[in-house]
Amino acid sequence: MLTIAGRIFHSRLFGGTGKFSSPQVMKDALEASGCEMVTVALRRIDLKNPEDDIMSMLDRQRYLFLPNTSGARDANEAVRLAHLARASGGGNWLKLEVTPDPRTLLPDPVETLKAAEELVKDDFIVLPYINADPILALRLQDVGTAAIMPLGSPIGTNQGILTLPQIEIIIEQARVPVVVDAGLGAPSHVAQAMEIGADAVLVNTAIAVAGDPVKMARAFAQAVEAGRTAFESGLGKKSSRAEASSPQVGLEFLR
């Protein structure tokens, strides 16, 4: 079972709340996904308003609420948003996103590290969204983040895991759970992430804009299961040559 900062998660699929055609479709898709952690952009919600269209649809008993700082241009903005969220009852958990380029929404490594350091000191449970940079991942773990969220490819692109070699290194070196986030466009992509040993994945766009988001959520959940089970069973090595199923090595010379 997956544990992050002492909390147990039965599902290794995390969900998002953006881009859905309605709050109801979002709710149904999240339920179908079986996820237990849901990220919400702080810019998108009004925490002070109990009738907020997204928040009123999310059962906080069922889902751990993971506010994110998407849109923050630097560490100061991210830290300010985090404090506001916590003060308004948003809790301690935070998906740290510092995305100064509004076009690619790629994360700023320097500002992310700076913000993480400060937020960890302020007792936030920080899950930073980063480019798949193994050294940055280590530096963030050193300052005390609860997980690492490297991207597979730029957000919303459905390109799958283009950063595979770096993510493999991050997983190999990790002391905290690794959640592959962003760019996962098909169930096969998340299966791949799970097969190489990622602890979890976060999927939003591919579910939200699917023809049938509820069905797609189910498909992603199944792929996460399949990939994880494969990883736990021990996948065979890839080979460039054909190999016989029953090896015939001549060992007759042995005495």
């Binding site: 810019r43 009004d46 241009r73 903005e77 380029d101 804009v209």
Partner: protein, 366 residues
């Protein structure tokens, strides 16, 4: 500094495109400036459904099934410029009014109660009456009540934009009106706005001041819409390279009936406007595309999910018009008369989520 090639030069590129180039642009993930020319060309007209399909795909991917809702607040219709097409033009005999800060606040309360979170403050250009001090004070009074506050007023200098940013203004819209230098000179008859090059530099000043978003635009009905679209694309690409932290949006106001009875110099049909929207979406997947209440409800409903990302709703274009709907002195007559909640209902009916809040005042330090 950004420079616009002569319209004749642009014309050659747009007119020269053939259907094969349009198809290539439709299949490309990185449509360059030549691809944009092809998408805007007459050769693309017969492929409008293909353009629409590509635009739908990109819009859903990048923005999801959502439309952001905003409302304008007209602060003043005093104007020192004489612009042939505008209802606020200095020589027009309309009733003039500028809201006091208190009146402006009252008007915003009406919008706030209608659950508007994204506010656009608009005024004519009369800096001696309505200047930076007024805007700064108003922004400070409003910043906690709205998720974002954008202005569409006279051009300011970088330092002034910086002051307003610190006061809580998040973005600035400043339209070139037309990128066709010759026509620009013809329709701008008096006032500072006559200076084409001065105006062309303003979006860069806004971005340099650190504003979150710059909105650029062209008024459709003055010059060839294909070339305006091409120039807008060039302007976008230039701004992206220079100011990578600034979000960009584009408006395409088609000329509406207004005081002064200006007749559009060219006709821009709904098909033309749609082609322009699709072409820019395909050229720049991340740009915000604004479709205001200048357009009729039927057209705006039809365009949901196809390219635009932002709709105004329940707009009144006369200062003080929200609290006194019978007031005169509007900038143009609105084409979509539905209320905000009606617009949102119709967006939902089309399978899209009308997003009331997609920013937060907390981003900017108070």
């Amino acid at each position: 500094m950004f420079q616009i090639p002569d319209f004749k030069e642009l014309q050659r590129l747009v007119d020269g495109a053939d259907e094969a180039e349009v198809r290539r642009a439709l299949q490309s993930n990185h449509v360059g400036i030549n691809g944009l020319a092809a998408l805007l060309s007459p050769a693309a007209e017969s492929l409008l459904p293909e353009l629409a399909a590509r635009s739908v795909e990109i819009t859903a991917q990048r923005f999801g099934n959502t439309i952001q809702i905003y409302a304008p607040l007209y602060l003043s219709n005093f104007c020192v410029n004489r612009c042939a097409y505008c209802g606020f033009s200095a020589e027009n005999k309309i009733s003039r009014r500028m809201l006091t800060l208190e009146e402006a606040e009252q008007e915003t309360m009406i919008l706030h109660n209608r659950e508007i979170n994204h506010l656009l403050l608009v005024s004519g250009e009369a800096p001696a009456r309505l200047g930076v001090d007024y805007l700064e004070e108003l922004a400070r009074r409003l910043r906690d009540r709205f998720a974002s506050i954008t202005i569409e007023v006279q051009p300011l200098e970088t330092e002034e934009y910086r002051r307003l940013f610190e006061a809580g203004i998040t973005g600035v819209a400043v339209y070139q009106e037309t990128y066709d230098r010759r026509i620009y000179t013809d329709v701008h008859l008096a006032g500072k706005k006559c200076d084409f090059d001065y105006r062309l530099e303003v979006p860069a000043k806004v971005a340099a001041a650190g504003m979150r978003e710059v909105g650029i635009g062209a008024l459709l009905g003055l010059s060839d819409w294909r070339l305006e679209g091409f120039a807008l694309g060039m302007h976008l690409a230039w701004l992206r390279r220079q100011y990578w932290q600034t979000a960009l949006s584009v408006s395409f106001p088609r000329l509406r009936p207004a005081a002064g009875d200006f007749e559009p110099l060219v006709t821009v049909s709904e098909r033309n406007l749609s082609q322009l929207l699709f072409a820019l979406r395909i050229f720049d997947p991340d740009v915000g595309l604004v479709l205001s209440t200048r357009e009729e409800a039927r057209y705006r409903d039809g365009m949901i999910g196809l390219a635009p990302t932002r709709y105004s709703a329940g707009s009144c274009t006369a200062p003080g018009g929200y609290s006194q709907p019978e007031l005169e002195g509007e900038q143009f007559s609105v084409g979509d008369l539905r209320t905000i909640s009606q617009v949102c209902q119709d967006i939902k009916r089309r399978g899209c989520d009308p997003v009331r809040k997609d920013w937060d005042s907390t981003f900017q330090a108070a």
